[in-house]
Symmetry: C2
Subunit: 145 residues, 2 copies
DNA sequence: TGCGAATCGATAATGATTCTCATTATATGC
DNA sequence: GCATATAATGAGAATCATTATCGATTCGCA
C-alpha cells in the first residue's frame, strides 16, 4: 500500500469510529510509514522533533492502537508501535540483541503458509483460539556485529 | 533435565563465574523449575511469599540473566524470566492476548530444523549474525476463550 | 455563529525497575 | 575451625516509561 493510500485508509477508519485524524496523528502515521520496524514513543518524539508533545503522543498511540490502526509490541523494556497488519501487511521481525533495533521481513507465501498451518496445529493442541503468530529472529544487526 | 540435575548445572556455572548460589537464588531457580512459562518479578515475589525482597529479586534475576542462566522476555509491558534454553530446552511460547499468560511448547525436531533453516536464510539476507529465534503463537488461552 | 465532543498540552501520579549504601553472608586460604 | 576479602542482601530512594488529570482549545456540524 502506498503512502497516500494508507493515509486515506486510516482517515476512513478513524472517521468510522468518530476519532479525529488531527495534524499530530497524521504526522505520527507519516513517521511510521517512512521508517522500517516498530518505533518507541521516545523515537517518534525525537523523529517528529517534539512537534507532538510526549503526553499527546502517548495518548494518540493508545487511541490508534485501540482503533486497530497501530500494533503495539514490547522489546527491551519499552513499547514500540507500527502500522497494523491490514495496513502494513503480515510480516515478522529481526531484533538486535545489542542495540534493540527492530527490522521487518516477510516470508515467501509458501513458507508463510506452512508456518500458519504449523501454528494452527500447535494452537489446537493447547486449546488456544489462535488469532496471529510472530516469528522473531534474534541476533546482532549489521552495525552491531 | 530433572530438578536436581538442573540445580547442579546452575551451581556449576555460577561457581565457574565466581557468582554465589545463595539461598534466595536457589529459591528462584526452584520456583522457575516448577512453573511453566516465563515469570515476572512480581509473580515470583508472590510465589516465593516475599521470602526474597523485590530489590534482591530484581538484582538476582539480572545477575543470573547476565550469567546465561536465565532468559528474559518482555510482554505486556513487563519483563518475564525463565531458565535459559541450555537448561530448559529450546522451545516457543503461546501468549494469551486477554490475560497475558504464557505457555511453553516444543516443535517436533523436523519442524524445528526447518524453522532453523528458514531463520538462517532470513538472517543472512539481512546481514544479521543470528543467535536464536522465537515463534510466538498469539490468541486466547483455554480459560479466556 | 455557536454548541458539544474530542483533543491538546502541561503537570502530577503510577508502576516497574534500578541504584545506593550500610549490613550481613559466603567462600577460600590458613 | 577462623580470619578475611568479596559478593550479596535489604530497605529505601531514585529513575524511567507510561498513564491519568484537568482546564484550555479546536473541530465538525447544525
Amino acid at each position: 500500500m502506498k503512502e497516500r493510500e494508507t493515509t486515506e485508509a486510516v482517515r476512513g477508519r478513524m472517521a468510522d469510529r468518530g476519532i479525529r485524524f488531527t495534524g499530530g496523528r497524521q504526522a505520527i502515521i507519516r513517521a511510521l510509514q517512512i521508517t522500517s520496524g516498530p518505533q518507541s514513543a521516545a523515537e517518534l518524539h525525537r523523529r517528529l522533533r517534539g512537534l507532538v508533545p510526549l503526553s499527546s503522543l502517548y495518548r494518540s498511540l493508545a487511541v490508534m492502537s485501540e482503533a486497530g490502526i497501530l500494533a503495539m509490541h514490547h522489546s527491551n523494556g519499552l513499547a514500540r508501535y507500527e502500522l497494523a497488519e491490514w495496513l502494513a501487511g503480515h510480516h515478522h521481525h529481526l531484533v538486535c540483541l545489542q542495540c534493540g533495533s527492530v527490522d521487518d521481513f516477510e516470508l515467501a507465501p509458501r513458507q508463510e503458509k506452512e508456518l500458519f498451518a504449523l501454528v494452527a496445529k500447535v494452537g489446537g493442541h493447547h486449546r488456544y483460539e489462535v488469532s496471529n503468530h510472530a516469528l522473531e529472529v534474534q541476533g546482532l544487526c549489521r552495525s552491531c556485529r
